[in-house]
């Protein structure tokens, strides 16, 4: 139950943070008037940074391309729309998206290139081959550690993470096999 509240708090925090980030920027409102061609006047688009109540042709279209008596006729054809956006949200989303994408790519590079190299350097060849043999079993080192240093809470957490990672990688391998090699599911 605590977790539920925790998640809720997290959501709330995110929301507050987001609304902080997305606090109204004065540039984020506009009134856009599209005026079609009228007699010899070309069609034109006008945009002004005005509030909703001023969003009409008379306030936005400036300079007025027609004479005083035609203003009403001209303005009747224009369509004015009030639009709002949140540039903060856009910025936040795009930067967040790009950073997650970057992290995933880095992690992918790490998993495919660096980790095998590091492992080879740390444990030597024989260990690597052995752990490859025991694909069906748990990762040996994690367990040895687990048994030996159960009182050590920190290393325990680390081990758990590594253990989970191993399991996850095996799962992905399994998925890859069934999707890409055997074409059993999702083809």
């Amino acid at each position: 139950m605590k977790w539920v509240f925790f998640i809720e708090a997290l959501f709330l925090a995110c929301f507050v943070l987001l609304s902080q980030v997305t606090a109204k920027n004065s540039e984020d409102i506009r009134c856009k008037c599209i005026c079609p061609p009228y007699r010899e006047v070309e069609g034109q688009i006008y945009k002004q940074n005005v509030s909703l109540k001023d969003c009409n042709c008379l306030h936005v279209v400036d300079p007025m391309p027609v004479d005083g008596k035609d203003v009403e006729a001209y303005c009747l054809r224009c369509e004015c729309k009030y639009e709002e956006r949140s540039s903060g949200t856009i910025k936040f989303t795009i930067i967040m998206y790009l950073s997650i994408l970057g992290l995933l790519l880095l992690y992918m590079v790490y998993l495919t290139l660096l980790e095998p190299m590091l492992k080879r350097r740390l444990f030597g060849h024989s260990q690597l081959i052995q752990s490859d043999d025991e694909v069906g079993d748990q990762q040996p080192f994690a367990n040895a550690h687990n048994v030996l240093s159960r009182s050590h809470s920190r290393s325990n957490v680390l081990n758990k993470v590594e253990h989970a990672q191993q399991r996850w990688r095996r799962q992905v391998q399994e998925q890859r096999k069934s999707v890409f090699d055997r074409h059993v599911v999702l083809s």
């Binding site: 079609p36 945009k47 995933l104 799962q171 074409h183």
Partner: protein, 840 residues
Amino acid sequence: MSNFWTSLRGKHAADRERGSEGMENPGYCSGSFDGLHHPSDDDDDEMVDIAGATLDFSSTDDVPPLSSGVYEEHNGTSRTAGMNGSGPSRLVDPLEDPLPGVGTYEDFNTIDWVREKSKDRDRHREITNKSRQSTVALLHSISDAFSGWLLMLLVGLMSGALAGGIDISAHWMTDVKGGLCLRGFWFNHEHCCWLSNETTFQERDRCPQWQSWAELITGKSEGPFAYIVNYLMYIFWALMFSFLAVILVRAFAPYACGSGIPEIKTILSGFIIRGYLGKWTLIIKTITLVLAVSSGLSLGKEGPLVHVACCCANILCHLFTKYRKNEAKRREVLSAAAAVGVSVAFGAPIGGVLFSLEEVSYYFPLKTLWRSFFAALVAAFTLRSINPFGNSRLVLFYVEFHTPWHLVELAPFILLGIFGGLWGALFIKANIAWCRLRKTTCLGHYPVIEVLVVAALTALLSYPNSYTRMSGSELISELFNDCSLLDSSQLCGYKQPANTSDTGVDNSLADRPAGPGLYTALWQLALALVFKMMITVITFGMKVPSGLFIPSMAVGAIAGRLLGVGMEQLAYYNHDSVIFKGWCSQGADCITPGLYAMVGAAACLGGVTRMTVSLVVIMFELTGGLEYIVPLMAATMTSKWVADAFGREGIYEAHIRLNGYPFLEPKEEFEHSSLAVDVMRPRRMDPALAVLTQEGMTVGEVESLVESTHFSGFPVVVSSESQRLVGFVLRRDLLISIDNARKRQDGIVSASQVVFTEHTPPLPPDAPPPLRLRCIMDLSPFTVTDHTPMDITVDIFRKLGLRQCLVTHNGRLLGIITKKDILKHMAQMANRDPDSILFN
């Protein structure tokens, strides 16, 4: 070596379990914690484990021990709990599993709805009983009842937020293929020129802040060289995005590819695909969906959004015990999540609910209907508050026109329906043939190269044509748009009548003759139509997230627009003929090409997916015009009839069949006269059914029986002579229980008797203690007699969601029918290969 580690691990696990039992509050939840550490527990995403374990710890703190004195029962040898609550000797609280892992399922197996539902009923009854005893228990029962709605709220918030993020990022990335904003790289083209007054009536998004790649690289914005640079950059980005998408899918979550709706349909019908709705699938699908959509491939984000919403729901289910532990309850939540997905994809909450009801759900009680309604509402609200398009709408192609239509126009609408049906049937045939090719030949061995080649082809061919260069939803929005005076696009390139200034003050215009701009647009659209039709066939099913809604809607919208413009011109030049005389006189605005595009889009989507009600509601929510319901209904119905004439299954069912998932189609009828005895196993020549007897078998015998067969369940009979049925035991439960007993219970050896009876039979004094397994036996298995017609049996399977059913003759056990047997039988009856059904 390997043995040593296994034994060490086993010992360690036992140690830990004992330790945790000692630490825990006695009498409560000692099983569930262990369950989370069991190597094969029921988490869909096994990474969740750590969180799950912590979760369980903390939840035990809050909840008081509901029953005291269970601890002794629990640890003692007499584990007796009726599986279905029907056993008279239920002593153990159903809130806790009698054993970790018992009652869970293996990967790629079908759940037993009956068992899950009765499990939940027991649990609920227990909570209700307890709630009368103390205030805390009452609070617990209230929070339990409330948790479903809370979960829906969270699902709605999360999917709405994710959909908003996907919309914003996809929009931006699509524009990045063309250029970059100097005011801030995170702005897309439209937002870059948000307040710029340099835009003109003709080129609405042109402002100096937005620089195309040619301007950035060479400094020139016009001329053939700039065009080539832009072209090359377009292809480069398309290749780059699609490469990243496919490589990420391959590296982290292969399950994130495809549309996801066929699999979700199967999962909702009771199938289990572990990891399909997991955390990594969610992350990767969200990230790569944006990449795939913005790479310009002919695919949409709608189907994958349903998958994303279901992932959210499944992950959030882990927070609530009620849903974490029960596969049937979880599927109710997933049904609602499917509604949420469509709700955010189209900004159509009611359409989403109906989509879930009509297309994806298998079991959809009223309670789920209300919950999906609520969740869809929350999600739409969240998305609206994010306002991803900056126009206060939930979709890019929201349209609003209210010009009336005339009865005569029903004829072209029905024509569009016929086109949609033909296209749908053709598309399904072609796409399935292509996917089968991919599945069986060496084409399937090169998923990355395939994606790259298709992306390169798409980019190469689509750049020269402005209607294929823009993204699918932009194209649809342009086609749906009605040509008023305010529009300056090529599609509105009509010849201006001389007296423009004197027409009415509203901006709608009378039918006009087509000008050169429109003619250019028309042949470009025709080319785009052919191109889209071809490329969608090979795109759908590639190993990137790919939805089908947008491409098929685009095809329909192009065809509809072409027909609409044709009709308009016909009416303009023949306004005195018999057909147009009464209602379309000269100078009247009688035909709206945008409406034709809309009807065409609905027809094509209907032809491909065979949706009817939900589709019309989605389209109607998109347009906000009640008066177009009849044209949409006419077109959708026609398209369904026409498409059904060529083949009864929609694209999703066809993909389910291609993959051989165990999906018992609720729409299809079984019309053969076979009997249960024809379908059941064992067949006449086969060896007799493998059964367990309720007493008299030793652990060793049971183990060798289980080892020597591959069945996933065994009936229990009184004795092998009488073959009278007692119950049914699942293989997995049996193995886990025996394994567990050997480790934890003293004196269980291969020679110990396995006893399924209520009371232990008298044993010789020197015999080892018996292993009592009544608690894992299903005491109320479904039975039919051997002469039950198959159509009734199929109905029972469908309506109750059975996994297996036993067949008796004169009260004696004769055989067993599983869902797979039924599917194989149906395949055989339909002259298909029965071995195409792969899973249990």
